[in-house]
């Protein structure tokens, strides 16, 4: 029994947000037809690429920092059991309580029980990918507890009955005038004269959430980093909603993936330089909070840390794919991805969109549950260059494609093609046949499925008189 329990397993089905309702190509098709979405995404990703590029260029040692970040994460993964136990010991010594959650269901149960024990009917939340991943809000609501998202973008998503579409900026698919409309429609007590000026919109969120911050006694957060040798947790944010949640309530519950660990306090010097420049394109984000357990008289007096597996150990078991656990959730890969820029995040069907999502989601769920995601990339490599911890996303995509279930017809065609290519005489016959088949692909005719997607918008070149091989033989 213990051997069975102790083997890595994927994130369970039926809970959380790691699996989409439709395949990537089908979801992308809908998104591609939304001109407002296309425009918003193009504007936002272009803006952030420019900002990030400028502040990265200010650092003469950006590449050295990337190498250090990459090595630190690899080292963390290799020493994960001892580092996690060290973290638990330090957090406990500092007055915190550490819980271990093997999957989403267990994490949701732990958090729900902890909130219930406080008697509070409401929790305030700082944006956290881990709690979105496990569907914590739904679990809390089912238990009669109201979760209030306090991050501006999450608020826009929650008020708009929408889904997040970006790791860092969940409402990236909305522009200022759409945000104004959502606020006017769904924000209680909003000034009807609200304009779409961004500072005015931010001010409206400030007024709306102030009372909730002041009166809620329980907060739920994620964590950007947990430092094993000190037990310190860090949350990196911009608006101050994080500080509110981490400071005002009596009880703080932090849900964190087991891969968020950093070995030593000193190692933060690397990640605090990499993360803001790669994510929001700032030299430093406005606020970073760090706390170690409980500080008497300052901040929450009850602190719970929930360490979450939910498929992470299955990712760790793949020697190539485990690099995906190095991710620090900066979203730089989304912002440079030509696919993401055109489809947006919803097409990926998971809380982790973009290139990192295309390698992380299928590994967390098992590739058969997200079989189209490893193909949601042209392998252009822009994500690898942008990643602050040098995750080789294109190589992992190729690796996962090799594990993905293949359509039977495609597999037969691929096998036949490989056989032909391995037999030069067959190959030469095929070249001659290709000349004939190309005629079918010329304008107006179209190729047969599944190749018709190509010929729908592109011509094939006119067939050459002779192949290179023929020319070489005859010259």
């Amino acid at each position: 029994m213990s051997t069975f329990l102790g083997m890595p397993v994927h994130a369970p089905r039926g809970v959380g947000h790691l699996r989409g309702d439709e395949s990537f190509p089908a979801a992308a098709r809908t998104a591609l037809g939304d001109s407002q979405l296309r425009r918003n995404l193009q504007h936002a990703t272009t803006t952030i690429r420019g900002k990030s590029g400028r502040v990265i260029a200010e650092l003469p040692d950006w590449q050295e920092l990337r190498s250090a970040g990459s090595a630190l994460k690899a080292s963390t993964m290799a020493r994960l059991p001892e580092l996690l136990e060290q973290l638990e010991e330090k957090v406990t010594a500092a007055g915190g309580v550490v819980h271990w959650a093997a999957d989403a269901n267990e994490a949701n149960q732990i958090v729900t029980d902890l909130v219930r024990a406080t008697g509070s009917q409401r929790v305030i939340k700082v944006k956290s990918m881990a709690t979105q991943e496990i569907g914590l809000n739904e679990a809390l609501e089912a238990a009669g507890i109201t979760p209030v998202e306090t991050d501006l973008a999450e608020l826009i998503v929650q008020l708009g009955n929408d889904k997040p579409s970006h790791i860092l900026v969940p409402a990236i698919h909305r522009n200022r005038s759409e945000i104004r409309e959502i606020f006017l429609r769904a924000m209680p007590g909003v000034d009807p004269k609200l304009t779409d000026d961004p500072p005015v919109l931010a001010g409206a969120a400030r007024r709306y959430l102030r009372e909730t911050f002041m009166s809620t006694t329980v907060a739920v957060s994620g964590a950007n980093f947990a430092i094993a040798d000190t037990g310190t947790l860090a949350v990196v944010e911009s608006e101050g909603n994080g500080r509110m949640c981490l400071t005002l309530p009596e009880t703080l519950i932090t849900v964190m993936g087991i891969e968020k660990l950093v070995p030593t306090w000193q190692d933060l010097e690397v990640f605090l330089q990499l993360l803001p420049r790669a994510s929001t394109g700032e030299r430093m984000n406005p606020y970073t909070s760090m706390w170690t357990g409980v500080t008497p008289g300052d901040g929450p007096q009850n602190f719970h840390l929930v360490l979450l597996d939910n498929g992470r150990t299955a990712v760790l078991a793949d020697e190539v794919g485990r690099q995906a656990l190095h991710c620090i959730r900066c979203s730089a890969c989304l912002n440079v991805c030509p696919v993401y820029e055109r489809t947006g995040g919803h097409a990926y069907g998971s809380v982790y969109p973009g290139p990192i999502g295309a390698i992380l989601s299928p590994q967390l769920t098992g590739v058969e549950d997200n079989a189209s995601l490893p193909y949601a990339s042209s392998l252009c490599g822009a994500c690898f260059d942008a990643c602050p911890v040098k995750i080789d996303i294109p190589s992992i995509l190729v690796h996962l494609r090799n594990q993905a279930p293949h359509p039977r017809t495609e597999a037969a065609v691929m096998a036949a093609a490989a056989y032909t290519m391995d037999h030069p005489r067959l190959y030469r016959s095929a070249q001659r046949a290709a000349k004939l088949s190309r005629i079918a692909g010329r304008r107006g005719r179209g190729l047969p499925p599944p190749l018709n997607g190509w010929s729908a918008s592109r011509d094939l070149p006119a067939p050459p008189k002779e192949t290179f091989r023929d020319w070489w033989r005859n010259r």
């Binding site: 050295e64 690899a74 093997a102 900026v169 919109l201 690397v270 606020y287 970073t288 909070s289 760790l316």
Partner: protein
């Protein structure tokens, strides 16, 4: 079998085929580097903090680039401190190393700067903050466990700082007695932070080295802001919308 043991067993099974723990290349910039206070001011201003530089070598007067906190939105810039009557220029260095005269002169300069920022009103102050920093007309509400409502109702908060980073324009508070509980620098809409030149380091690694991780730390780079609307930085969400930094020495 506890979930802890299940997870640890899973990890060990996942790593059973081997995982390298590489050497960490630390060839990025780490050592102490020269502190460029002008650059610090530039970086603070770039992220919309208002800086009041009490510079003894320039008779306590710096050109006004911006400043002022009235109105709806935060404004940025470098504001000058008021000329110090009867105070010798070098006396304003402060920093705790110049003796009583210097300290009180430093206090006078800080007082003048705060008077510039906030003519009158109530500010929350941590218990370890020198009350002599507060000008006439500004009432100090010492935090001895004040309620959130009282803190939020104040016109501002005055704190000292632990460390500042030139390269990123960041100030770090570590909840020492002159900085206080985290809540006091969060709820008021105006945060006045008094920073000594000797607390400034060039880079993030130097700041990390100086800080004590067992204390609650708050890294602040400019006023509360968001990038959630079209990925442009917009100042003024939940934290203080006005950040004034008084740089002494």
């Amino acid at each position: 079998m506890s979930s802890k043991n299940i997870i640890l067993d899973r990890i060990r099974a996942a790593l059973a085929s081997g995982a390298e723990s590489p050497e960490i290349p630390r060839d990025y910039r780490r050592g102490p580097a020269e502190v460029d206070l002008d650059l610090l001011v530039e970086r603070l201003v770039d992220y919309k903090a208002v800086v009041h530089r009490l510079n003894p070598e320039k008779s306590g007067i710096e050109p006004v680039i911006g400043g002022g906190v009235e109105g709806s939105g935060p404004q940025a810039g470098v504001a000058d401190a008021r000329p110090l009557d009867g105070v010798e220029a070098e006396g304003a260095a402060g920093g705790g190393s110049g003796g009583e005269r210097a300290a009180s002169a430093g206090a006078a300069a800080v007082r003048a700067a705060i008077a510039d920022i906030l003519g009158a009103g109530t500010v929350v102050v941590p218990p370890g903050l020198p009350l002599e920093w507060l000008p006439d007309g500004v009432v100090g509400l010492v935090d001895d466990g004040l309620s959130a409502e009282r803190i939020a109702a104040a016109d501002g908060v005055v704190t000292a700082a632990a460390v500042a980073v030139v390269e990123t324009g960041t100030i770090v508070l570590d909840a020492s007695p002159d900085q206080g509980r985290r809540i006091i620098s969060l709820l008021p809409d105006l945060h006045i932070c008094v920073l000594r030149a000797d607390q400034v380091v060039a880079s993030v690694p130097e700041a990390v080295a100086r800080l004590d991780p067992t204390r609650p730390l708050t890294w602040i780079s400019g006023p509360s802001a968001t990038s959630d609307i079209e990925l442009n930085r917009v100042e003024g969400v939940h934290g203080p919308r006005n950040l004034h930094v008084i740089l002494t020495g």
